[in-house]
Amino acid sequence: MLALNNVEVMYDDVILVLKGLSLQVPEGKIVALLGSNGAGKTTTLKAISGLLKTEEGEVTDGSIEFLGKRIDGRDAATIVRMGIFQVMEGRRVFEHLTVEENLRAGGYTSKGDGNLKNKLELVYNYFPRLIERRNQKAGYLSGGEQQMLAIGRALMAKPKLMLLDEPSLGLSPMLVQEIFGIVRKINQEERATILLVEQNARIALGIADYGYLMENGRVVLEGTPEKLQDNEDVKEFYLGLTDVGKRKSYRDVKHYKRRKRWLS
């Protein structure tokens, strides 16, 4: 359904961030894209969704194809209309709009308000917590609710392909479980294909059908979740396990967290 072939992305005409990245997302599947800070995961998603342009970024080589058509270089609005919807890192809800207004903004590209009710109902079915907050300003929602709203906005557009950028960011493990369960359900029931970017490899590989691991703008490892989970490097660096199988020291974990907050 989606294919990136040797994609190169440059920011400001000088900073080369993606250095020949290739990956495939087959229809109906959940594909996980893993990697550490600065590997270029967000850049990859923005290259697909057309948001790169707003940041002086450009696909300088290779191609991006969606349903057999080249989409690199097209503008974001066109790409959304073709059926790709990016849920951006950090949730990015419209803080001064109510929950329901946020959802309506998400459905901006779909024609006719006739099925608006149905679509809102669909979202509230997946995220019942949003119902009671429908008239509340989104800025006052909790982090978890905001993430639900961000995914709900995507649902409103009925996308064929959803790009999720670190939906687990800053959420409690319980909530992460809940949200990933819903993502799986959306994949099955709405038949939305999903490209999932995560730092939390364990949970991402838990729901994915296939995974890619990227470092420094390239894919360095790919395979089924089982294969990735068995890889020693993945175990060490992404699952937080050493080869003896015990957790890494608390200090490392904390250090990683702090760095993450600094960057995001």
């Binding site: 969704s49 948001l51 707003t54 974001a76 609005a77 790409i79 959304v80 209309r81 919807f85 990016q86 951006m88 990015r92 809800v93 419209f94 803080e95 001064h96 709009l97 207004e101 946020n102 309506r104 903004a105 998400g106 901006y108 590209t109 308000d113 300003k137 800025g139 006052y140 982090g143 906005r153 557009a157």
Partner: protein, 294 residues
């Protein structure tokens, strides 16, 4: 008491026109962070265009009114296309400087075509005043107030319920996120300029019907700035309340204080009031609260 009521009504009429024009100003600021310093010139130009259609081309007033709105739509669209779009990505301050340039160009054009004398609008609305209780109010005031209030209500509903209105507020909140859902930010900017030009023209025509028109109509821009700041710059209800408040304040201080001190208070009062309010509420009466949560 009658005198007070008279001042109050006049204040509300003028204030509702301020509110209308401030709405255009706020829209542009809200969606693109640009202070449009040519807002007053849009008021002036709209009034002169309508005047030209009615007086110079003998078109009936209602047709002329509609034609003026069409003209303003095209004007707003072309300002966005020709003047602002090439500036996308440039610092906001450059864009603001460009609106100053635009204001000089528009003022020069109006002077070149119509000179600087005050021109009376032909009488459209009957001059016989209606009595509100014991105070006489000219009919044009009533129409003007009604038109402004209806328009303000329409726009409020538009921003709250329509897809485009919600999209405009979404762009004002987070441009990139809005883009990620397929909202065309350029189209939204164009819409903001169109609405700004249209409401300004309507405001200009109404002032023209009341007072006649001359080049000083462009000072409306100076009036609208305190109105918008008072309301919080980015708040649509704020613009409405700010407009009415300043209109009333201006008339009351003009009526009661000017005769004592010999004039001038009417012009200054809005600014004094503004400074006062800003000392208490630095973001204006309805400024966007910054939502902080982690």
């Amino acid at each position: 008491m009658d005198f007070f009521l008279l001042l109050l009504v006049n204040g509300l009429v003028v204030g509702s026109i301020y509110a209308l024009v401030a709405l255009g100003f706020v829209l542009i600021y809200k969606s693109s962070d640009v202070l449009n310093l040519a807002q007053g010139e849009l008021v002036m130009l709209g009034a002169y265009i309508c005047f030209a259609f009615v007086v110079q081309y003998n078109i009936p007033f209602f047709a002329a009114f509609v034609l003026t709105l069409v003209f303003s739509t095209i004007l707003g669209l072309s300002v966005e296309r020709v003047v602002l779009r090439p500036l996308i990505g440039q610092p906001i301050i450059s864009v603001i400087m460009v609106t100053i340039g635009l204001s000089s160009v528009l003022r020069a054009l109006v002077q070149a075509f119509w000179g600087t004398d005050t021109r009376p609008f032909p009488t459209i609305v009957s001059e016989a005043p209606v009595m509100l209780g014991s105070i006489p109010i000219s009919q044009v005031y009533i129409y003007s107030l009604a038109v402004s209030l209806v328009l303000l209500a329409i726009f409020t509903a538009f921003f709250r319920y329509s897809k485009t209105g919600i999209a405009m507020r979404a762009v004002a909140d987070d441009q990139q996120a809005a883009l990620s859902m397929g909202i065309s930010v350029r189209r939204i900017f164009a819409m903001a300029w169109i609405i700004a030009a249209v409401v300004s023209a309507i405001g200009g025509i109404m002032v023209g019907l009341i007072n006649g028109i001359n080049i000083s109509l462009s000072y409306m821009g100076l009036k609208v700035l305190p109105v918008a700041i008072l309301g919080g710059l980015d708040s649509i209800p704020g613009a409405v309340i700010g407009g009415l408040a300043i209109g009333v304040l201006e008339n009351l201080s003009g009526g009661y204080i000017d005769p004592i001190v010999g004039g001038g208070v009417k012009e200054v009062a809005p600014f004094v009031f503004l400074v006062f309010i800003l000392m208490i509420k630095p973001y204006g009466l309805f400024g966007k609260e910054i939502i902080e949560r982690v």
